[in-house]
């Protein structure tokens, strides 16, 4: 069953033709002619791709298809040989990674980057944007940033509560389990109040019980106005939570559509067969 949880019931992309590079009614991200090669190997070669605002889009593909590289290119962690990214109608191609994050595109990483020597709460507070106390001179004068810090701390506690990490707030995040770190990273991303969160394999290595609660959190994000893009290998997860699926193989978009139809797509099956994986079966992680 698809994770379409729009309250009005209708799928926002119901009328959209399910072909690679199709235009969407309200795209938040538009990728144009993006290419990236490593040596002679072309890792990403996407002609055109639009990501619809306010839904959950899954990015899938066989191993080595270039999903993570594509993610890096979108978020400015790698620069393409050619091509551009439009975010919310603005060209962000010339912005580097932290500027894109400030503009509202916040990502997580495949290998979690919980900052182990900071406490869980400090990790969360780090996520907040526009902090006066993060500037050099004001940081020396606590009265300038105390009150803001209090507000941020309040929000951090709320989010931690929601992600069931509240009891760990004062612990070093190095003491968290792998799954808890994934939760923390997602909660920390939300501290930045992003327009788009981009999750790189959000449930890889997370135990089944925690996976469920993590997915529930993801599903709720569109209701809060957050667009979600995620890369995932676990097909059950993809079928469960995504509204739209984009399939990448050998760096190019070979198919996109609603989850129900994508599993039957000939090109997708061929791509997965060629890679020795099965698109319909979830993979062991």
């Amino acid at each position: 069953m698809s994770g379409n949880h729009r309250s009005d019931g209708g799928h926002p992309l119901a009328d959209v033709e399910q072909v690679p590079g199709v235009a969407k009614p309200d795209p938040i991200l538009v990728v144009e002619n993006m290419r990236r090669a490593f040596g002679g190997l072309v890792a990403v070669d996407v002609d055109h791709l639009e990501i619809q605002r306010g839904i959950i889009t899954a990015l899938i593909g066989p191993n080595g298809a270039g999903k993570t590289t594509f993610f890096n290119l979108l978020t400015g962690f790698d620069s393409p040989d050619a091509g551009s990214v439009m975010f919310d109608g603005k060209d962000v191609q010339r912005l580097n990674s932290h500027r894109r994050a400030q503009a509202g595109m916040v990502r997580t990483f495949q290998l979690t980057k919980a900052l182990t020597k900071l406490s869980v709460l400090e990790n969360m507070k780090l996520g907040a944007k526009g902090q006066v106390g993060e500037r050099f001179l004001p940081s020396l004068l606590p009265p300038l940033w105390r009150s803001q810090e209090k507000v941020i701390e309040e929000r951090a506690h709320q989010l931690l509560e929601r992600f069931s990490l509240h009891h760990m707030a004062e612990e070093y995040s190095g003491t968290l389990s792998g799954g808890q770190r994934k939760l923390l990273e997602m909660a920390r991303a939300l501290m930045a109040a992003p327009a788009v969160v981009m999750l790189d394999e959000p449930v890889a290595g997370v135990n089944p019980a925690l996976t469920q609660s993590l997915l529930e959190h993801v599903k709720r994000l569109p209701d809060e106005g957050v667009t979600v893009i995620f890369v995932e290998h676990d097909m059950d997860v993809v079928w469960d939570i995504s509204d739209w699926v984009v399939v990448i193989a050998e760096g190019a978009v070979i198919a996109e559509g609603v989850p129900e139809s994508i599993g039957k797509n000939r090109a997708v099956i061929d791509a997965y067969l060629g890679s020795g994986q099965d698109v319909l079966e979830s993979e062991e992680v």
Partner: protein, 455 residues
């Protein structure tokens, strides 16, 4: 690399390695070294209005090598004379402190406060400063850019670049295969140079102190060519031991690269001052081939020893290239440098490759040291100064690439020598280091490096 750390036995080995280094060096306690008797001096006089030559006393002068290492300084006596002993035949720079000249006395050519003097075997060098009491005269531009000078400097540059490149390939390959920047690499260069020096002066066993009185070739010196071969072997052995006793254990303990880098720094300081302790701060020369008259080839002057070392370097570097390109081990090295995990999973013995790289790095650094010592002078500090130039070359060519290192070093060598057309000789090495910073701005991956993800 996040292994659990096990401490047992390791401190012992590291301490041993340190001791071995100090021990080997301390063993080389020398019997009195042959002292040369050459001096560099000058006699300051000017012609007064009556046409008499008047000596200038009390003026300060200093003598240094062309690399700016001061050898001696002093003040002229009542006859205007000054002289100071120098370590041996070479070209020296004599600098006059014009502030100490009597009032009204000035240099005829105000820019020539430094004069270069060539000292030949058994002959003293004499610097000539032409002084005047008259008004400043206009003098025509001396030096200047001539084809002859450009050709000569380019030749010198290629020579320097080849020697640097020989030392640099090892540094670059160690970095490529292990990710470690070895700050002790310069001391490996000095180590080769000094080993050759000791064999050259004291013979095979005599280099180890107390056996100096033995008959040749054990005592007394052996020919520099044999000494150089021995130095290369010792260099290779040192490379092997550094990996076996220090860096391999550190890798298996999961000590971070940053910590390993600091360890190389510690080793370099240790070695450098062990060298100073034994060798002293003086500049020295090999016993053989130190004074040769230059051959004239077309418009270029080059000494036979330089010609031979240049040809040898080219041959050796070609050999290294063929080795990397053609042999199984060479290919494995490049594979490890390219992608260590992939190489490991495809069955390459990574530890073995790294061992070979260290041996080769030590041997090449040692040979580079001998060649540099032959072309210039020997000093305890030369490795460190070369290291900075090697860094410039390696970064210019692309960190971690063997060919890039060579190319970069050639460019640095030529650049350094040609820059003396425009800037004072004593500042030439600084130019190379400025280029290093500029390269990082424009093309951080270097000329032959592949674009990685940067910032």
């Amino acid at each position: 690399m996040r292994h659990r750390r096990t401490v047992q036995g390791f401190p012992f080995r590291l301490a041993l390695a340190g001791l071995a280094l100090v021990g080997t060096a301390l063993f080389m306690v020398l019997p009195a070294l042959g002292q040369s008797s050459e001096t560099v001096g000058t006699r300051l006089r000017y012609q007064n209005e009556e046409g008499n030559r008047v000596p200038v006393g009390g003026a300060s002068l200093s003598v240094s090598t062309l690399d700016g290492i001061e050898i001696g300084s002093g003040v002229t006596d009542a006859d205007g004379a000054f002289s100071t002993p120098v370590p041996g035949p070479a070209v020296y720079a004599v600098t006059i402190d014009i502030g100490t000249l009597p009032p009204g006395i000035r240099l005829r050519e105000p820019d020539r406060i430094t004069v270069e003097v060539e000292v030949l075997e058994g002959r003293d060098g004499r610097a000539i400063f032409s002084l005047t009491s008259g008004a400043v005269e206009m003098v025509e531009e001396s030096g200047g850019i001539s084809l002859r000078r450009v050709a000569q400097l380019t030749t010198e540059g290629i020579k320097l670049g080849l020697f640097l490149g020989m030392a640099a390939i090892g540094l670059s390959l160690v970095f490529g295969t292990t990710g470690l920047v070895n700050f002790a690499h310069g001391e490996m260069v000095t180590w080769g140079m000094l080993s050759a020096y000791f064999f050259n002066y004291f013979g095979l066993a005599g280099a180890f102190g107390f056996m100096a009185g033995w008959w040749p070739p054990l005592g007394d010196g052996v020919n520099l060519i044999l000494a150089a071969v021995l130095a290369v072997l010792i260099g290779g052995l040192t490379g092997y031991l550094m990996d076996r006793w220090i860096f391999r254990p550190l890798r298996t303990r999961g000590v971070s690269l940053i910590a390993q880098m600091v360890v190389t720094i510690g080793l370099s300081i240790l070695a450098r001052y062990v060298f100073l302790f034994i060798f002293g701060g003086n500049l020295r020369f090999f016993r053989d081939y130190s004074a040769q008259s230059a051959l004239q080839i077309w418009i270029i002057e080059i000494t036979p020893k330089d010609l031979i070392t240049v040809v040898l370097s080219v041959l050796i570097l070609l050999g290294v290239g063929l080795f990397l390109q053609r042999t199984q081990t060479g290919k494995a090295m490049r594979a490890v440098a390219d992608n260590r995990d992939l190489a490991e999973s495809s069955g390459i013995n990574v530890q073995g490759v790294i061992r070979t790289v260290w041996i080769g790095a030590g041997a090449l650094a040692g040979l580079g040291g001998v060649f540099i010592g032959l072309a210039e002078q020997l000093s305890w500090l030369i490795g460190f100064r070369m290291l900075l130039l090697i860094f410039a070359g390696v970064v210019l060519g692309g960190l971690g690439t063997a060919y890039g290192a060579l190319l970069g070093c050639l460019l640095v060598g030529i650049g350094i020598q040609l820059s003396t057309l425009f800037i004072p000789v004593e500042l030439k090495n600084i130019g190379a280091l400025v280029v290093l910073a500029l390269v990082l701005v424009v093309r951080p991956q270097g000329i032959l490096g592949r674009r990685e993800r940067f910032g």
